[in-house]
């Protein structure tokens, strides 16, 4: 329980390191005594609230963290890419038009310019949007260790490697993506419907309802085309909600209500996406 309420004028002194490369940044973070600063949307309030860090590692000068690169199979977006850039970059818009469109409405215009995808992920705030979206998209998170080795993990994995998050990698497939954030802070729901070689698959990720977002594969119960998916939307949604770990009950909402919302919102999303 906080007993002293600091202000921006009482932030404890720290050593500032401004590396130019990912390797240098990872090295500066290797001893665990450093905190990353990009947009500052999470770090500054934490420092103001009394968090003491020995070292602040500023990532804003590392060009490699802002790179966007695309292959046939995936697009890699640097962890230092801001929400604003993700929403407006032409390369990302070509590769992931649904995501780019949705991202224009994440947070607000001020936060979109400052905050980064990497910061949003590493804040581990269950209310934040990047993780459920990336989980639904089947993305991988790329971490850079101090020894220059990169480690990749699924966005849905429970544990993430140590090191500096350097990029997110989103597979490029025939896909329809939606993200319903209309019921935040109770619930958010990201849905990706994908087709590979004529086979349908999908994922839905639930945000705001557990300690971390939860992503599960969708079971289309044998549906062969999107029309059939739309027709079975209720059943698919019911099955998903039944599989989902019980949502939390807190001062925002009850777990039971969150479960109900999952069913209702997922059925609606499936119908809307399948009918596009």
């Amino acid at each position: 329980m906080q007993t002293i309420f600091g202000s921006h004028g009482a932030i404890a002194p720290f050593q500032l390191v401004r590396p130019a490369t990912i390797n240098d940044a990872a090295a500066a973070l290797a001893d665990g005594a450093g905190a990353c600063l990009a947009g500052g949307v999470d770090l500054l309030p934490a420092l103001r609230a009394g968090r003491r860090v020995n070292r602040v590692v500023y990532l804003g000068g590392i060009h490699a963290l802002k790179a966007v690169s695309r292959t046939d199979r995936a697009i890699a977006i640097g962890a230092g890419v801001t929400h604003h850039r993700l929403a407006n970059d032409s390369e990302i818009a070509r590769a992931l038009p649904d995501l780019a469109g949705i991202w224009r409405n994440v947070a607000n215009v001020r936060v979109r310019h400052a905050a980064t995808i990497g910061g949003n992920l590493m804040a581990r705030n269950p209310q934040y949007d990047a993780l459920p979206a990336l989980q639904a998209l089947g993305a991988r998170l790329i971490f850079a260790g101090a020894d220059s080795r990169a480690q990749a993990t699924d966005a849905g994995a429970a544990d993430w490697p140590d090191g500096l998050l350097s990029a997110v990698e989103i597979p490029l497939v025939e896909r329809r993506f939606g993200f319903d954030r209309s019921m935040k802070p109770v619930l958010s729901l990201a849905v990706s419907l994908e087709a590979r070689d004529g086979k349908l698959s999908g994922r839905a990720a639930v945000g705001c309802a557990h300690q971390r977002p939860v992503c599960l594969a969708l079971d289309f119960a044998g549906a062969r085309d999107w029309g059939a998916v739309a027709a079975r939307a209720d059943a698919i949604a019911d099955a998903f909600a039944a599989d989902l770990a019980e949502p939390d009950t807190d001062w925002i909402a009850s777990g039971g209500y969150r479960s109900t919302l999952v069913r209702v919102l997922l059925a609606r999303q499936l119908t809307a996406l399948a009918r596009r």
Partner: protein
């Protein structure tokens, strides 16, 4: 701990050199070192937007930005909006429409509106509403602010003709 950092920036159109501790926040450089108190501290955690300044034209929470982060940049505070005492179109609109009450959010709102009109000179009401949602006003209920921004857009367009 780190040495103080020498920075140079442009503040309200004038070159400024300063030496700042790494933990010195931009709001304090502005309000204390430069005695420009138009920029306000509201929530002090980057949520309410009362501390908004423009950094290279981008709306920025000065309470949640370190001073060294604006090295080499152009910073505009509310004091830099009027020219030689003449109000700019956004200020004129806020004034003529009384789009303020206590005035604490007003500097931030005016800078936010300026950034909006720079990005979109003919914004729809929906766009204005979306941008204004970045800042909290507890007094006005926002509708009169939105109308002032529409009015300002028209002033700017007319002025440009």
């Amino acid at each position: 701990m780190s040495e103080p950092i020498a920075i140079s920036l442009t503040l309200n159109g004038r070159a400024l050199r300063a030496t700042v501790a790494p933990n010195r926040v931009l709001a304090d450089l502005i309000r204390q070192d430069q005695a420009l108190t138009g920029t306000k501290i509201g929530c002090d955690q980057g949520t309410c937007g009362a501390c908004t300044v423009l950094v290279d034209g981008i709306v920025t929470a000065s309470c949640s930005t370190f001073a060294w982060q604006v090295d080499g940049k152009m910073v505009t505070t509310i004091e830099g909006v009027a020219t030689n005492g003449a109000l700019d179109p956004v200020q004129e609109s806020f004034k003529s429409r009384s789009a303020f009450q206590c005035g604490y959010c007003t500097p931030g709102m005016i800078l936010l509106a300026k950034a909006l009109l720079a990005a979109d000179p003919n914004p729809s009401r929906a766009t204005i509403r979306d941008w204004i949602s970045a800042n909290v006003c507890r007094c006005t209920g926002y509708q009169m602010i939105i109308e002032a921004v529409e009015d300002a857009a028209q002033r700017v367009r007319e002025g440009a003709q």
